[in-house]
Every structure is written in C-alpha cells, then in structure tokens.
Amino acid sequence: MAAWDLAILVEDLGPDAPPVTLSVASDLHVGGVILKLVEKTQIKRDWSDHALWWEQKQQWLLRTSWTLEKYGIHADARLLFMPQHKPVRLCLPSGITLRLLACFSNPVFQTVMGICRMLNIRRPEELSLLRPIEHKKKKKAKDLDEEIYDLTEVPLSSASRPCLYNGMPAHFADSSQMEAIYKMLSVTQPPPAPEVIAKQYRPASVVDKAHIHGRWLDSSRCLMQQGIQENDQIWLRFKFFAFYDIEPKYDVVRLTQLYEQARWAILLEDIDCTEEEMMLFGALQYHISKVSQSEPQMMSSSAAMDDLESALQSLEVKMEGESSTASEMLETMTAPDLNDYLKIFRPKRLTLKGYKQYWFKFQDTSISYFKSKEESIGEPIQKINLKGCEVAPDVNMAAQKFLIRLLIPAPEGMNEVYLRCENEQQYAQWMAACRLGSKGKTLADSSFQSEIQSIRSFLAMQKSSSSSHGNVPASDESINTHSLVSPRYHKKYKPKQLTPRILDAYQNVAQLSLTDAVMRFLQIWQALPDFGLSYVVVRFKGSRKDEVLGIAPNRLIRIDLGVGDVVKTWRYNNMKQWNVNWDIRQVAIEFEGNVNIAFSCVTADCKIVHEFIGGYIFMSNTQS
C-alpha cells in the first residue's frame, strides 16, 4: 500500500513548533501512528494519557486499533497529539475555583464522574458542568486574581479508586496544602460580604433563570467537542434535584457543596421564598457558620455525633449507678435556678401601671416573683409557667433597653407580660431561661449556656452594626446580617432591624449540630414550592407565544409567562413515552389518557430538555 505523509501537531513541542510529519500507509492503525510519532519526537516521558484529536471532524481518535482508512483520514487531516486530561478552572457551588485536570475526551458525564471521584463527591450523576455566565470585561481582570486551589498535581491514577485516609481520599492527605484544599471542600464557607452578594448576577425573572439552564453542557459529548479550552472556567453544579441516599458520614463534600448551592440559590433569589423563610435560612446560615468555625472537624467526625444520644444516655445510667448518696441524686434531679431583681409590666392589666420591680425566681420552667428578696421564701405574688409560651426580644442597645416580651398561654387566651432587664448580662441569662422554659426545658438543660452565648453574640452583632453603619468586615464575633439574606432585604431592613428577626428564628435551630443544621437547611429548601424546578422557555406546538416549561424531579409544569401561573402539570409516572425530533428540534411527549404535547425549545437546546427528563426518570427508577 502506498505510503503518504501525515502531518501531526504535537502539543508538547510548543505552540509554534512545526508539525511532525510521518510517512504512513492507510492500513496503519492509530496505535502505530502514535508509536511512530513518539519515536520521532525523541522525548522520553509518559505518553499514556495522550491521544490524537482530529480538528476538522472535532473527534478524538481513541480506537487505537482502527486503521487510518477506517477513520477516513487522509493527508489533509489536521491532527493534534495532546493529553486527554487538561487543566480547567472549576468553579464549585461554593463559589471557590479549583484548578484540576479534567478529561477532555470522554463524554461530559464521565468527566464529571472523574472530577467527583477526585473531590470525593458521591452520586456524580446528580451533577453536571455548565458554561459560566460571561462577565463584563473589567470583572474578568478581577477574576484572575481570585484564589485558585490547585489540584493539577493529583495523579490521575490515584483518583480512580479513592481509599480514605483520615477520612479523606489519600491524595488529599499528601501535604498540608492538599489537606487545606480538602477542608475548603468539606467545610462551609463563611457568609459572603453583602457587597459580594449584591454584585453577583441575580436572575430577575423566570426567563432569566431559563437562560441559565441553557448553559448546561451536553453530557454525551466531550469537553473538546463543546469548545471548552484548556484553562477555561466551567461550573460544577448539582443539576438533578433528586438527592437520594444522603449519608452525612460519607457525604461530607457532597453535603457541603449542596448546602452551598442551596445557600446561593436563596441569597440570589434563584428560588423564591417568603420573608419568614428567609429569616430562618438566615438563622441557619448564621448557626452553620458559627458551628463550623468552632468545630471544623465536626462534619467528618459526625459519625461519632450520631451516637451522642446513646452516649449521653449511657452516661446518665452510669451516673445513676455511681451517685451513691441521696443528696447527690436529688441534686442531679433538681434544676439550678436563677434569681434577680427585674421589672415587670403587664400591658393589659390596669393594676400594674408601668414597670414595677420585684424579686424574680426562675425555677424549672416557671417564673415566680416576690415583693423582695427577703420574702422569697414564702408564697410568690404570682407564678407563671412558661411552657408553651412565646418569647420575643425587644432590645435597643443604644437606648439600653433590654426587654423580654412574653405571651403566656392561659385558658382565656394569651397574656402579655414584659420583663425588663438592667443590662446585657442579665438579659442574656433571663432570655435564655425564658426560651428554654417555653420549650419545657429547665435551666439544667445542657443548652442553657450556649443559648446565653448565642444571645450575647447577637447582641454584639447589633452593637457593631449600629455603631459603624453596615460596612464592617465580618469578624468572628459579629456577622453582618445582610450577609445572610438576599439583597431585597438589604433594601428593606437595616442590619439591626434584621438582627432580632433572625435571632427569633435562630432560637429554634440553635441546638442543632452542624450536620443537622445543614440537613435542616436543605430540607427547608426542598420544601419550598418551587424547589427542583429547572426552567426552559419553549414554544408549544400550536401556540404562538413563548411559555416556560418547568422540569421538576417528578413532573413537568407549564407556566404562562403573562400571568406567571402554573397552567398545567404533567407527572412523569403518567408518561408513556417521549421523543425528540432532532431535525425540527422538537420534543414530543405522550401521557396516559391520550394526552400529547410537543414543543420546541427557545432558551436551551432540546438536548438539554431531553437529558433532564431522561435523567429524572432514570434516577427515580434506579435509586429510590
């Protein structure tokens, strides 16, 4: 067979190097070409990751046993010899950018699997890659100097089967630097500065959201084919919102990144929620950041925490066994109490005008008060059981006002009682006591001290935000509450107005462990009515206007753009089949009961819609 010349560019020789020309015959297989090529370059190195890329056809020549003829390669083919794994800048849900080697030759689905293996994220099928939103020119310059964590040194082979070492994949245990990266992956980021939130792109409408979903890469084609270059930025995000089998013990990174994505979805109003929900999300973020700062290793050692309950119980038993005197036993069974002079005001009662000072005693879950300390042995003037009551703060640091508003349930209704404290210290103690009491807990409860702490730190937040008008760098002690809510609330409330509201929500979550708090955040997120919806602007067959198709884990919804209302819902379990006509780019779906719909996609390739639907059905079938 006649020999002809084949010119191949070898990337490793540099961009300006001339192509290497080989004399080949058409029956030479690709492996032979590579062998010849490597010999000719005379470079000794590991070529195992290299492969040939055919530029005109946008195709990798990965079947080394195929001949050139079979591939249809002639002398005019522009071939490139380069590694299949190239560095990319991978932007994580947390907003952190990693530099790592991604596979450019496998379908994106497998590339994601490889990335997830390296990062120790289970269930890679939930995630995918998407193109970033283009920044304006001047922002780009800024992007460059952001901190990038480099993972390119991780040997590709080690990522194939991660063995855990110290609770992390072995390649992260190599050096303290790598360990730091793993920590960054597995520990939630501190709340972002309000300006950072404000600067981020926020989808303003459902159409904006639909445009974001047009950016998903095609899972069945490789990065190279989709125009992704070496060192490009791509986003790694959770794409399918059906999270099965979350196991905090093994899913440290997965949970953390999921939380980060959820947090940003809330902060950027990618998903709508009510004000009350926003405050709860804020409180949880505050709690999570606080707990993860104080115990950064918690997530990985949470296995031990699972058993905390039982450990405590056995401890209790032990103590029961050990305490040998009656007085000791009685001591453990009676709660400590709190005594002080406070002022009380009952707005609804005419008899007590203004605040009057009494000697207060907090015992078990009740407050009693007496004329004076001396008379506290006798019968109290009144005893108020706080169990089931509502406790609200009314604090103004500048005015030194420390008020506890109590709504005490009684058969006749709720009685309002205000308690006025003298100072921060007193307030924190009594407030904490009231909170515990309202939940039916006594001061002996272990959460008493931490409750006091959190009240004080919230007071500190109020102090700092009122003194220096919002632009405080977030120090350990105080977080600007604007960091915890979406920009809409930046306009609506000043930080110090937000503080009591978030604190209010906070009291219900303050006892949660880090893992529980993250899980709670995710649960509330998942319980939002719009959760899990990915939008695409479509044109239904026979319709003359654009509408929005929402794709959820269990259903499709049709949204009228004019009204913004859900017009129609189709559940997958009623779906008989769906088809894509690639020629006219139309998706046709048939449901039971002879319901047929067809639409073309406006903001996204119909391949994306196709993948979403198929992916959800696939996942619900295999995993639930």
């Binding site: 689905f109 089998d245 089931g388 209704g413 998942q526």
Partner: protein, 667 residues
Amino acid sequence: MQSGAALRKDNNKTRINTFEKMDDIDAMFSDLLGEMDLLTQSLGQETVPPASPPSTNKEVNFSIGFTDQNESLNELEDTDLDALMADLVADLNATEEKLAAEIQASSTGSSVSTPASSATSPIPPPQSSKPTKEEIEAQMKADKIKLALEKLKEAKVKKLVVKFLLNDGSAKTLMVDERQTVREVLDNLFEKTHCDCNVDWSLCETNHELQLERTFEDHENLVEPLLAWTRDSENKILFQERREKNEVFKNPQNFYLWKKDKKALKDIKDKDKELLVQENFCGTSIIVPDLEAVLHLKEDGKKSWKQRLFQLRASGIYYVPKGKTKSSRDLVCFVQFDNLNVYYGKDFKSKYKAPTDFCFVLKHPQIQKESQYIKYLCCDDARTMNLWVTGIRIAKYGVSLYENFKTSEKKAAVSSVWTNRSTPSSSNPSTPSPTIKAKSPNQANGHAPTPQPGPISADFGNIPPPPPPMAEILPPPPPDPAFPPPPSLPSKGSPKPSLPQRKLPTNFPPPPPSMDNLPPPPPPPPIDDAPPDFLPPPPPTSGFGSLPPPPPPMSSLPLPPPPASFGRMDQSLPPPPPDPEFLPPPPPEPVFTGGGGGPPPPPPPPPPPAAGGGGGFPRPALRPVGSVKKMPPAPPKRTTPSLQGGGGDGDLMSELMLAMNKKRGAH
C-alpha cells in the same frame, strides 16, 4: 386478688428480714425507699408503702368490694400497685435468695427460682453463673439504687384517670401517665374493647365551650393536653374511628393532586398512590401539599367574616395581601405552626354566623375559652376543610404522621389476623370488620373472674420475639432498595407480614369450639398474675419480658384455615416463622415486576450518541428518521398488581382474603 394480698404480706416479712441483714448503706437505701414511698403517697397516687399495715387493710377492703363510683379508679390504682409491688418484691426476693443460696453453698437452680418467680412472674431472670458474694452485694446495691431512682421518677410522673367515651355511649376508664403516647393508650383501649384495631381508631378531644374537636396524633403524649383543661371543663375524650386521620396515606392524590378533577383522582392507580406517598413522605424532606384557596377569616373580635386568598407552605399559612401578586416574597405570614394546633369547628354557622359549617380553628392548645388569639377560618366545602386541616397537620408534624400510620397499620394487621382466626368463617371480607358491636361479647368477658387478660399483650408474649419498641419500627425506609418501595402500603404490606402470624396461635391450646366467637382465647391461667387491664406505665416492652416464655409449640396443628394455601404462600415468603414484626418490607422486585409488568431498564441520562438513531422501541409510523424514541421506563404500561384489592379501600382483611383467594385459585 386475695392471693396477691396474702403474698404481699409474706413478702413484706421477708423484706424486713432482708433489711436486718443489711449493712449501713443498704439500710440507708431502705430508708430512702421508704421516704420515696411517702413522697409518692403525698402526691396523691396512693402507692402503698409496703411495710405499713394500712396497706393490707386497704387490700382487704378491696377484695371485699367497693363503691361503684370509685370502682375503676381503685381497680386501676391497685393494679398499678400490683405491678409495682411485684417488681419490688421479686427483686428483693431474687437477690436475697441468691445470697442465701450462695451462703449455704448447696443451692440448686430450682431452689433459687421457685418461690419468688412462681408467684410473681415479672423478674429479671437471675444470673445463671454463680456470682461471688461481693458481686452479689454490688449487684444488690446497684439494683436498689436503680429501684430508688425509678421510684423517684415514678413519684414525679403525672397520672390521670381518663374516661374515654365510645360511640355506643358507654365509656372506658384508664389510668394514663404522662409518658404514655396516644398510641400506647390506643393499644390499651384495643385490649379493653376488643375492637378491630384498624388504623382509623383515634382519640379525639372535644372542647365543649369552643365547639372544637381535634384528633390527637398517635405520637403525642396524652396527658399534657389534658392538663390544659380547666377545672370545670366539659371537654371530653372520644375513642372513635376517624377516617380523616390517615386518609392522606390511603388516598394521597386527594391532597397532593387536589387541583385535578375528581374523576381523575378517583381513577388513580394504587401504584401512583404509592408513588405519591413515597415522593412526599419518604424523601429527605416532607412535602406539604401546596394548597391555595379563598377562605373566610373571622376578624378579631368582630362577628364578620372576611375573604382572603390563603396559601399553605411548610413554614406556615400565608395570605396574599390586597393588590399584590402571589409571588412568594409578597406573601404575608398569617400563622406559623410552632405553638398552634388545628381543630375542627362544630356548628359555627349558628355559633359565629360563619358562612358555612366547614370551619377550622388554629389556637394554642392551652387556650380553652374564647379569645382574640384564636384564629377562625371557614371553607366553602368539606373537601377544602379536610384538605387544609390535613395539610396543616403535615406541615406541623411532618414525618411523624407517616410513622404513626405505619405503626397503626402494623397493629391493625396483627389484630386482623386474630379476628380472622377467631371467626374463620367470616366470608365477607370486603365489609369493614365490625367495631363497636364486636365488643359486646368481650365486655361480658371482662366481668369474668380473670378480668380481661389483655389479649394483645398476651399475644405478643407468646410470639417468639416481641415486637420491637416503637422507635425501631419507625425508621424511614432506606431510600435504597427499589423504586416503588412499598414498605408502607396497606394493600400489599399487610397480607404478607400477617402470614407468619397465622402460625403463632399454635402456641395456645386450641380454643374450645364453643368459644369460637371470642376473638382471643384467654391465656393460660398462670399468666393472669400479670397486671390485667392496664399496662404499667413503662413502655410495653417490659410487659413482654415479664411473660413466661412461650410453651413449646404443640406438635399437632389443629388450626382450621386451609393449611395448603398457606403453605403455598409461605413459599413466596422469606422464611416466615419467628417473625412477628412487619419489618420485612416486601421484597421490592416482585412488586415492581408485578406492578409494572417488567418495564425495561431505563436509558442512562446521557444517551450515547449512537443511540441517536433508534434506541428505544421500534414504533414505526410517522416518526421522522432522526428522532430518538425512548420509553419512560416505569410509568408506561401497568397491569394491576396481582395482590391488589379491588376498591383500594385499605381494608386489610379484604386484602388478605383476596390475596389468599388468588393464590388458591392459581393452584
């Protein structure tokens, strides 16, 4: 009872002897015990101090008789006492005798166990290995400390004697202590009434003054809400079947697909129901039906009712303010559920001039009288009202509701087996089993000399491993197993698990034919000493432990139901015999294939480019060449699963019968 009294006296003596032998610390503990007895007494619970003569007097009184009014009360307290005393005495005896035996160094196992255990059964079994003297003493001390602590706790526990009204106008009275959940109380009531134990049985609280009614959730503690009642209150506790309690698990489509038209909802397949329950109750997050409706709100302190557009979310009830959109961020929070309970309002049309009688109310459980803090809402129809009340319950209680349902389902399955057994001829499975009426023979039974041995607990006692404690039954099913994980299904879950049960009755002597109509055969007499009629406060498990081990299974199986069919059923089951719990969730595969007719494995999400041409099912006509055809795997063609009952009524009996008939027919 008289024998019990005599016995107690004896034990008091032995106990005194014991004390004489004791060293200082022990003496101190006995003092402590005495003190605590006094303490309990002073709390009005009349725990009789064991050594004091009045106690014997009282018992004499008791055995002679008492006035009608206090009958149940005394009975209860006494049984309570019995249990406590039994524990106490048994404990002491056991240790003492062990000690004695050790000292004499001539003891045999039989002498150790005889006197104490034969008389009062509930004892932790004595250790088989011979402990040293020190160990024994240490053990004794530890036991006493434990006992002391238990008593101390006991003394603090609030107990109420509660009257439960039944549908037929009669009432049952039970002592309920504050640690007991509604579920436990229901179980006790099942024993007392011998009803069919179906999942609808509930406890309801009625508030006479406010004309409210609420079904307690099974996981709630009963005593706490009752303590909120005012002294003169005319509130009542009803023991009733309430369909709405678990309706959302039987017909989830009515709640989660409420927007669809009624016909579509009615035609929904059981498999889709399962899926809905699965989706909304078994995921990481509990999904609240997203309700939206114009409801009438009674304005504070006024007589008028105002219309507003309300929305239910997991975080609370919201309304859309005038002139605003329905977007989440504009919603105004109406209430959150932390401190509120939801009640049905009765007859509000006349009481509050409500537009309709379909009203519900949100209030703090402690509020018992009219107050501005009560929120009154009125719906256009009963369906809307049930939607909202159920939706609010889901938002408030979350997964607990589902766990309660599963627990009660298991309970119902057990008892349905019993019902089935005692009335094997009942050939009409589709009618809901008789409930209150079925009770009458049992009431008669209740007055028999062995007062209501508590068939259920007895059953459990004889079933080899006792049912796991509540908590263990409940863990949400692992998400893994299989797609339509059916652990919860009333229809499919019940027939299977109940089968092993059918074998259990062999532990009992076969009931004499004349007693065929009595659901449970009375257990053998020796067990009777166990507290009848009232489970002692500590969770039922202790009760099981105290029952003697089941007698060896009788070799002859004279059971009426056709053994052949059961044998066949058994083949399809995991090895059934010793497993009384319903945990083994039906293996997923059969259900899947049964339900879906073996849908093809789904395509993975990224369809390889090669599939572009014609992956999927050849479907000739009209399709453009380039189109990819894919069958959505699970949903498409579905034949009715073989095990499914017709109406999907959730009646376990009928399901069971149907399943059996089918099986029989197949062979």
